[in-house]
């Protein structure tokens, strides 16, 4: 699928708006995983607004395409998108991580029904997505899952990676948010992105490294229909969009000061898109 210049402009505007929405969510209280939410925002926007069912998903449709946020610590990105899609209206009590708030510390389908799978414990989303993809083959839908690069350290991920090609799954797209950081510092997996690509290729996957903030690449690769399973290694920047947060792991999940929020918002507004 290709997008027009006009569509691209709209998507870039949406990135900016949703980054500001995230900051506003944080302004109301609580601390969220801002770095990892900013790194994958373009990927989530592409999926929810362009790829899945080729437009805004109908969450009650049995044949809807599914997105599983295996890296549950990108909750902020998911919350602002579902909010923007009109899945819920935000109430006063809905402060991030607050008591009785729908914005739980990690995405929870008990609180927001449009979330396909409650995540938070790493490594399980990819297997759940595989289960969904097995059913999607018959029911006619596609499944997308996003993993953190640090999440690749979970053994269960590799159990799934081995099983997927063996089961001839070709309606599942695995996207890796390769932002190069995990909680305690630099990601402890393979440093060379090309080597990582070769590993997936050896297991039988179509594998592509892309710029994870470039809408055209994300949309082109995600919409590609293939006869084999697909891994997209999205080269991203943790904290993308706000200069003092970019590649600064202090912003993995820290509570932002009012000053930081205002500076970040100003920068996003000044950039225009």
């Amino acid at each position: 699928m290709n997008i027009t210049t006009e569509e691209l402009k709209e998507l870039k505007k949406l990135s900016s708006k949703l980054r500001i929405d995230i900051l506003e969510l944080l302004e109301r209280g609580g601390s969220g995983h801002i770095g990892g939410s900013f790194s994958c925002l373009e990927i989530l926007i592409s999926l929810y607004y362009k790829i899945m069912n080729k437009g805004i998903p109908n969450f009650t449709n049995k044949k809807r395409d599914r997105f599983i946020l295996s890296k549950g610590h990108a909750e902020l990105a998911m919350y602002v998108i579902l909010q923007d899609l009109g899945c819920f209206s935000r109430k006063e009590k809905d402060v991030l991580k607050a008591y009785n708030s729908k914005f739980q510390g990690h995405p929870n389908k008990e609180w927001i029904k449009e979330i396909e799978f409650s995540t938070g414990s790493l490594g399980q989303g990819i297997s759940f997505a595989l289960g969904q993809a097995i059913c999607g083959r018959e029911d006619g839908f596609d499944v997308y899952t996003l993993l953190g690069d640090g999440e690749l350290q979970e053994g269960q991920v590799w159990e799934a990676i081995i099983a997927i090609p063996r089961l001839n799954i070709n309606n599942l797209t695995i996207i890796i948010d390769y932002n190069k950081y995990q909680l305690e510092g630099e990601t402890l997996t393979i440093k060379n992105i090309e080597n990582l690509k070769q590993i997936f290729e050896a297991w039988g996957y179509y594998t592509k490294i892309i710029n994870g903030h470039d809408y055209e690449s994300i949309i082109r690769e995600c919409s590609l229909k293939l006869e084999k399973p697909k891994v997209i290694i999205a080269d991203t920047i943790k904290g993308k969009g706000v200069s003092f947060m970019e590649n600064n792991n202090e912003y993995h999940g820290k509570q932002l000061s009012k000053k930081e929020i205002s500076l970040a918002k100003k920068e996003l507004v000044d950039k225009g898109v």
């Binding site: 396909e116 409650s118 297997s127 759940f128 289960g131 993809a133 269960q156």
Partner: protein
């Protein structure tokens, strides 16, 4: 004579032929769990996930969330031990319609030794909210439990052993969640769960030789469990013994103690089970004797209790 794993497999096959939404997942143990029979008959409803229980558990949840009934089966030890967090998170936390069938539970995989035996499953499952936990001892009861779990959408775990069970008249009425009073008795109650109940029935008969008339209660449903019924059956009992092929921590003994404390005339309460020890290889009867769980050990424990207190 049949083993309960055969009973479960046959029942699933029967249900699966009628209900195409029933999916069975194996983790390279189908021959032993008997799920191979289901796989051979209904290949389109079968998924071989291989030796990866954690992945298989989350896959089962993904399938269930598409409107299917996922049944996942392997040895209890690897099912609820290896994939515990996936049961908690992928299955129960997400309220997925997944049924866990654990075979070779307790000491029943006696030859394979401690790694393959499972004496922790009740505690591992009972500490997770909502998931139903069953340990049947009889054929008809097992069939009834299978029907129940397939009809309801709650996550559930069933544990069975490996051996053929003793032919017993199991025409008693069984309602999910209710204790089964196998024999009415006075003052002494023997309460058990799972296939060790067959040893308990033998112990009851042995104790009759000593003019002791024991109440025998079999509990196959640890959750749900009607606590009022338990208290009603036990309120006049002075000697209460729980027997399980499980650690003494967090299983039947703990559940009964928690349920009846302060509500009975009990002067002696003993939990018979595995005490701070792993199993080992050996013949099942030999192992049960070694760990104090065969019918003679149960008999002697009761006799010693009565002798010590000099009263009945």
């Amino acid at each position: 004579m049949e083993a309960l794993r055969d009973v479960i497999s046959a029942e699933l096959k029967k249900i699966g032929k009628e209900n195409k939404n029933l999916i069975v997942i194996d983790c390279d143990m189908g021959t032993h769990t008997r799920m191979k029979k289901f796989f051979d008959t209904l290949p389109n409803q079968s998924f071989q996930m291989g030796i990866c229980e954690q992945n298989a558990m989350s896959v089962a949840s993904g399938i269930a969330q598409c409107g299917k009934i996922s049944v996942i089966s392997t040895f209890s030890s690897f099912l609820v031990g290896r994939a515990w967090e996936q049961i908690r998170h992928s299955v129960v936390y997400n309220n997925s319609n997944v049924k866990l069938i654990g075979t070779h539970a307790g000491l029943s995989d006696s030859d394979d030794g401690g790694t393959h035996q499972c004496i922790e499953d009740f505690s591992l499952m009972m500490c997770i909210p909502k998931i139903e936990v069953f340990a049947p001892a009889f054929k008809n009861e097992t069939i009834k439990i299978m029907k129940h779990i397939i009809e309801t959408k709650t996550p559930a775990y069933i544990r069975v052993g490996r051996s053929e069970i003793v032919e017993t008249n199991d025409k008693f009425e069984y309602n999910i969640g209710e204790p089964i009073e196998l024999f009415k008795g006075k003052n002494i109650a023997l309460i058990s769960t799972g296939e060790i109940t067959h040893e308990v029935i033998r112990a009851k008969k042995e104790l009759e030789k000593h003019n002791l008339n024991c109440e025998v209660i079999h509990i196959s449903s640890l959750r749900p469990l009607n606590e009022k019924s338990i208290v009603k059956l036990l309120k006049d009992m002075k000697y209460i013994y729980t027997i399980e092929e499980h650690s003494i921590h967090g299983g039947l003994g703990s559940i009964i103690a928690q349920t009846i404390i302060g509500k009975t005339k009990c002067i002696e309460f003993k939990t018979l089970g595995m005490k701070e020890i792993f199993g080992q290889s050996g013949d099942i009867n030999c192992l049960r004797r070694h760990y104090g769980l065969d019918y003679m050990s149960i008999t002697n424990t009761v006799l010693e209790g009565i002798e010590r207190r000099k009263s009945i």
